[in-house]
């Protein structure tokens, strides 16, 4: 185990460095060449996350979360009750809720849904079909193979297009494990498309686990709809 770990550690660190360094410079070049996208990136950065760390890899400028860096008194403050008696008043403590002052910026919140609608519309127009899975399974059924043959024909006929496979699960099981299962389903779909001759680079995968169900009732017919590899047309890079 130890040896294996050491073996992985060196190339992985190298990979992270390689990803991080040129990732940033590439981004700068892109920004220079396309004023609009650079402006967009900056807006998104301020609304959602620190723009300096969105280039891929591991963030370099987030604050240290070590407890040792904190003033021990800053988070505690439990001094216990005062000993009072003989008509004395207890000491006064100011109670504040100051640690919860975050302001929301909902200005970007509609953007994702607009993009989803456009992906879905493109998939509907192309007549793409989804794949459905058995409980606990990521094996592609005969019916699923037929659906994917049709999807493969479409992508081969549309040279510029890319697909995205969303892996979905029913509500049973844990949220976390269903994300892993959803990814296995999405990758099983991609692998079968590749077997059919589609270039892997034209098929992206994403897992939504049980977080974006198609159907919200609690019965098997609904669960069956949610165990799905949902095939959509990728509308943005």
């Amino acid at each position: 185990m130890r040896t294996t770990q050491g073996f992985w550690y060196v190339p992985m660190m190298a990979a992270v460095l390689l990803m991080a360094v040129p990732g940033c410079s590439k981004k700068a070049v892109q920004s220079g060449g396309d004023a609009q996208s650079s402006q967009q990136a900056a807006t998104q950065g301020s609304a959602s996350a620190d723009a300096g760390s969105s280039g891929g890899g591991v963030g370099s400028n987030f604050p240290d979360t070590s407890l040792s860096n904190r003033d021990a008194g800053a988070t505690g403050g439990l001094r216990g009750l005062d000993t009072v008696g003989g008509g004395k008043s207890p000491s006064e403590e100011r109670v504040t809720n100051g640690a919860m002052m975050a302001k929301l910026d909902p200005s970007q919140s509609g953007r994702q849904m607009d993009a989803i609608r456009s992906e879905q519309a493109a998939a509907d127009a192309a007549g793409l079909r989804d794949v459905f899975f058995a409980y606990d399974s990521f094996a592609i059924s005969e019916e699923g193979r037929q659906a994917l043959s049709r999807d493969a024909e479409w992508i081969k006929a549309n040279a510029g297009a890319s697909l995205k496979i969303e892996g979905h699960c029913d509500e049973r099981g844990t949220s976390a494990y269903n994300l892993v299962l959803g990814e296995k389903r999405a990758k099983a779909v991609r692998n079968y498309l590749v077997e059919l001759g589609v270039s892997a680079g034209r098929v992206a995968v994403v897992s939504y686990g049980k977080e974006r169900p198609f159907c919200k009732e609690r019965d098997e017919s609904c669960y069956a709809q949610n165990r799905r590899g949902h095939v959509v047309v990728k509308t943005e890079k």
Binding site: M1, F62, T65, G77, P90, A102, G173, Y177
Partner: protein, 438 residues
């Protein structure tokens, strides 16, 4: 005590015994964790309204009593015949009566308006008497705005717990969770009793599985930056400022900061399948912890920081495994059933909670000791239970369940008693994470 534990640990290390090492955190806690611990009977005389809004005294009293009940350190004793008018009378025969009723601690307070302070217009005095005595043995005056009235009662309850056990109470702890907002799922934080929910993100898509930093300043969570990749983000509660910690591509889920805050453990599929990694939050160095063709996820740190529990489907269905903090010494912990996932190591170190699939194919909460010797099923009945998370005192768990239809958040004692639903608004609340104590 501490010395004895150290000697034991040294012995264990010397003879090379692999197995369960008592967490370093256990010897911090006092007698309230012992199985033979007798709850301290408390009589709450009440919170007298002394010129505040009509609801003030009653609300403070209600919050205080709930906190005292949930502390599991105290038990509430009825103190009939004791009115506010009696409190100031010394000597007070009613106090003797209350002591004879079994109350070994008496609590009363008064609350009203505070003049001449625009930021703190409410004032509450809390007093403690030892049973049978006429003398005040402790007290504090809390001042603040009317928006922190519940917090004043929580503060007083925590100080009562601290006075009698030496432990911080949980009444001012928070629960982070995910709530459905239209088509999106966003992060929220609420008080431990389900009150004062507050929305933290408004990205309009998916933010999942929050976990606290040990100093309670930050949450780490999975953020769908766009619809194609998941990153691991961190948000500062006080400011709403956000950082991307991990943006490797693929699935990046189940982040968990170590008890000292020095490492972020998480699962990522960027090298193929889901594996566990740890990021040093000081040097920003990334280290891979698992190497296996199946899915590894959901790391949960032991309170000592020396070990982690995690879920892996390397044996078929998901099971709980343990490993050392450097990724070595991986061994399987659960063997019953074909689906055990979402482990959560108790802050006292003595239990690991997880989601177990029962023979009836129901997803319920189970507990297992880290040596695998003892196992109990904690919840039963219909509904999918998910995402167990421990209270900082290790006496309660919070989790999500669909027992009432849609997913909501519930609290339960570690002994399976006092199941209590704590979210009532919103159509879908999930992924609760209990904060450390303040």
């Amino acid at each position: 005590m501490r010395l004895k534990t150290c000697l034991l640990l040294t012995c264990c290390a010397l003879v090379g015994v692999i197995g369960i090492i008592e967490s370093g955190a256990t010897d911090v806690f006092l007698e309230a964790t012992r199985p033979d611990f007798q709850k301290i009977p408390v009589g709450v005389i009440g919170i007298q309204n002394a010129g505040g809004p009509e609801w003030l005294g009653g609300r403070l009293e209600e919050v205080l009593k709930s906190d005292i009940r949930r502390s599991l350190v105290f038990t509430l004793v009825d103190v009939p015949g004791l009115g506010f008018k009696d409190v100031g009378t010394v000597p007070n025969p009613a106090f003797k009566q209350a002591a004879e009723n079994g109350a070994s601690v008496l609590v009363w307070g008064k609350a009203g308006l505070k003049a001449g302070d625009k930021d703190a217009d409410i004032s509450m005095d809390g007093f403690v008497y030892d049973g049978g005595s006429n003398e005040v043995v402790g007290g504090k005056r809390y001042v603040g705005s009317s928006s922190v009235v519940r917090l004043m009662a929580h503060r007083f309850a925590d100080e009562l717990v601290f006075r009698y056990t030496g432990e911080p109470g949980i009444a001012r702890s928070k629960i982070a969770y995910v709530s459905e907002q239209g088509p999106a799922r966003e992060l929220f934080v609420m008080d431990y009793d389900g009150y004062e929910p507050r929305q933290l993100t408004a990205d309009g898509f998916l933010n999942l599985m929050p976990r606290w930093s040990p100093d309670r300043r930050f949450l780490v969570f999975t953020a769908y930056r766009n619809r194609n990749t998941q990153d691991i983000d961190m948000i500062e509660l006080a400011t709403g400022k956000r950082w991307t910690l991990v943006s490797l591509g693929g699935l990046n889920i189940t982040p968990a900061l170590s008890p000292d805050g020095n490492f972020l453990a998480f699962a990522s599929s960027y090298e193929g399948n889901s594996e566990l990694y740890r990021l040093d939050t000081r040097t920003k160095a990334l280290q891979r912890m698992t190497t296996h063709a199946s899915g590894d996820l959901s790391p949960s740190w032991a309170p000592s920081g020396r070990e982690l529990a995690f879920a892996s489907d390397r044996s078929g269905g998901p099971q709980i495994f343990l490993m050392s903090a450097d990724g070595s010494n991986i061994r399987r912990l659960t063997f019953d059933g074909d689906y055990n996932a979402a482990p959560a190591w108790s802050p006292r170190g003595n239990w690991i909670a997880y989601v177990c699939r029962t023979p009836k194919k129901e997803y319920k909460l189970c507990l297992i000791t880290p040596d695998g010797q003892k196992k109990v099923q904690l919840t039963a009945g219909p509904g999918v239970d998910d995402s167990p998370s421990w209270s900082p005192d290790g006496r309660h768990l919070v989790f999500s369940s669909t027992a009432d239809g849609k997913s909501q958040i519930y609290m339960i004692n570690a002994d399976g008693k006092d199941l209590e639903r704590i979210t009532f608004t919103g159509v879908h609340n999930s992924a609760p994470a209990w904060s450390p104590a303040s």
